[in-house]
């Protein structure tokens, strides 16, 4: 079987995003930020709208808006007694409302909501590949630099800050990088798929892993496997590519809950 060019491009971009999503998704799960993806997806409507207003690349405006939301979350977390989930709810719905107001004002634009939600991985360009791999490589490199303080802060913020790890700074950097990931992947795989790819492989990996590094590696493997087999499935059965990828990830998650788990993880614990 000869693969069409667009399919190879989709594979390369998808694998790239799955690799980035692995480590960042693990921190989403560890830091209980699953709702953060949802918040960013709601705020991305505002980002997309602003992209149209100022006629600039929507990745840039989505990144700007998402980063602002991330910084607001960070500041509110410091200044109020509210927990992250309530704050995320607050930011999520208010940014969605502002986005809808802006969109209502721009009545001359037709929004492709399905595109925003699911993207179009089969329409990726060579530039998209370049952006995903270069930005992704940079993001992972920065994550590698802040790794120890971010992990220490995730385990216990008090220990981390009293032992010179500046956990708050790395947390802020991490959240801005996460906004960056959403921004580069929104056009390609859509907001639903990126949040799914952040959470589902990490959740699956948690079931069978014994250390942070192991969980990250397993979630990368799961993510890449889901992308590759999801894309092939969509080619074979003519299904929508994005949802196919997530369904494969879900199937892997379900398998990890079964007794098979003992075979994979061996004699751990």
């Amino acid at each position: 079987m000869i693969l069409d060019d667009f399919f190879i491009r989709a594979l390369i971009v998808g694998i790239g995003i799955a690799i980035i999503a692995g480590p960042f998704g693990c921190f989403v799960v560890w830091k209980r930020l699953s709702y953060f993806g949802e918040t960013l997806s709601h705020s991305s409507l505002l980002g997309v709208a602003l992209g149209y207003v100022f006629s600039i690349n929507i990745s840039i405006t989505v990144f700007a808006v998402s980063s602002i939301v991330a910084i607001l979350l960070f500041l509110l977390n410091e200044r109020t007694e509210l927990t992250s989930d309530s704050l995320l709810g607050l930011l999520s719905h208010s940014s969605l409302s502002i986005g809808l107001l802006v969109v209502g004002y721009l009545s001359y634009i037709r929004f492709d909501m399905m595109g925003l939600l699911f993207g179009d991985i089969l329409a990726v360009t060579k530039l998209d590949i370049l952006i995903v791999w270069v930005c992704g490589g940079l993001f992972i490199f920065i994550l590698y630099i802040i790794w120890q303080s971010l992990l220490a802060g995730t385990v216990n913020r008090d220990i981390a800050s009293s032992e010179n790890m500046s956990p708050r700074r790395s947390e802020l950097i991490y959240m801005i990088l996460l906004s960056g990931i959403i921004a580069i992947s929104i056009k390609i795989i859509g907001i639903l798929l990126i949040t799914g790819l952040l959470i589902i492989p990490a959740a699956m990996a948690r079931n069978i892993s014994n250390s942070p590094i192991q969980m990250i590696l397993i979630s990368i493997i799961v993510g890449v496997t889901s992308v590759v087999s999801g894309l092939f499935a969509s080619l074979t059965f003519n299904t929508a590519s994005g949802p196919s990828i997530l369904v494969i990830a879900l199937i892997l998650f379900i398998i990890s809950l079964t007794p098979l788990k003992r075979l994979i993880s061996g004699a751990n614990n």
């Binding site: 560890w30 009293s162 942070p212």
Partner: protein
């Protein structure tokens, strides 16, 4: 004990923290030198942990000042709730803030009696085992200032004595300043250099011998505590 090294490592001057319309602690003045063990005792809610957090820089004082002469601090918090979405083995936890070698890790885990747990997941440890790992981690960072917030809670009786002895040993071997928050008045009286009795402010302070005779101590802990404690001397000549 290495009292000749009198270099002060931490000073609090009139420090206070004001939250929700009240002073959690106020007018805390204390200092810790190298090789010194300073114990903070006091009833629940008297601000012991708050004082520790001021010293650690976790809480910024709303009044007064904190002067730290080191950045090598290790901390054993009172409550450590780890989120179990994060799989963490003892060995990963030991390397949380420092790049400790495998050999150093096994050595300190051996000192706290939990070397066999090195590859276990933290989740599967008992409360006492976890406490020993926490203490081992703090020691492994080779701190100049060690802050221990009830480090032996949940540890069995014999283990408790052994760990207190260990704290004593570590404090003189590393020549580090130690702040210990403890409920164990016996240890306090036998092995610490100075005691601070806290109840929102410093009620009394001094060496263990002088403090048991002070009126404030007797008011806070009762005459019977003072009586049972004063003659107590702990035996340090054996190990467990």
């Amino acid at each position: 004990m290495a009292k000749e090294h009198n270099k002060i490592i931490l000073e609090l001057k009139d420090a206070g923290v004001y939250r929700s319309n009240r002073w959690l602690v106020r007018n805390i003045t204390l200092s810790v030198s190298k090789g010194e063990i300073l114990t903070i005792i006091g009833p629940n809610g008297s601000g012991k942990s708050t004082t520790a957090k001021i010293a650690l820089g976790i809480l910024k004082p709303d009044a007064g000042s904190v002067i730290l002469h080191t950045n090598k601090i290790a901390y054993v918090p009172q409550n450590l709730a780890i989120d179990w979405t994060l799989p963490l083995r003892v060995i990963d936890f030991m390397r949380l803030t420092n790049k400790t070698t495998f050999q150093e890790i096994t050595e300190v885990l051996d000192m706290t009696g939990v070397a066999s747990l090195i590859n276990k997941n933290l989740r599967n440890l008992s409360g006492g085992e976890f406490q020993r790992v926490l203490l081992a981690r703090a020691i492994a960072t080779k701190p100049e200032l060690l802050i221990l917030d009830e480090p032996v809670q949940g540890v069995d009786f014999t283990g408790e004595i052994a760990l207190y002895n260990l704290i004593n040993q570590v404090s003189s071997e590393l020549n580090c300043g130690t702040i210990l928050i403890s409920h164990d008045l016996h240890f306090v009286m036998s092995a610490t250099d100075n005691v601070i009795c806290l109840n929102g402010h410093i009620c009394c302070s001094g060496t263990p011998k002088t403090i048991v005779q002070s009126k404030e101590f007797i008011d806070l802990f009762g005459a019977s505590a003072a009586q049972t404690l004063s003659p107590y001397e702990h035996d340090h000549d054996h190990s467990h």
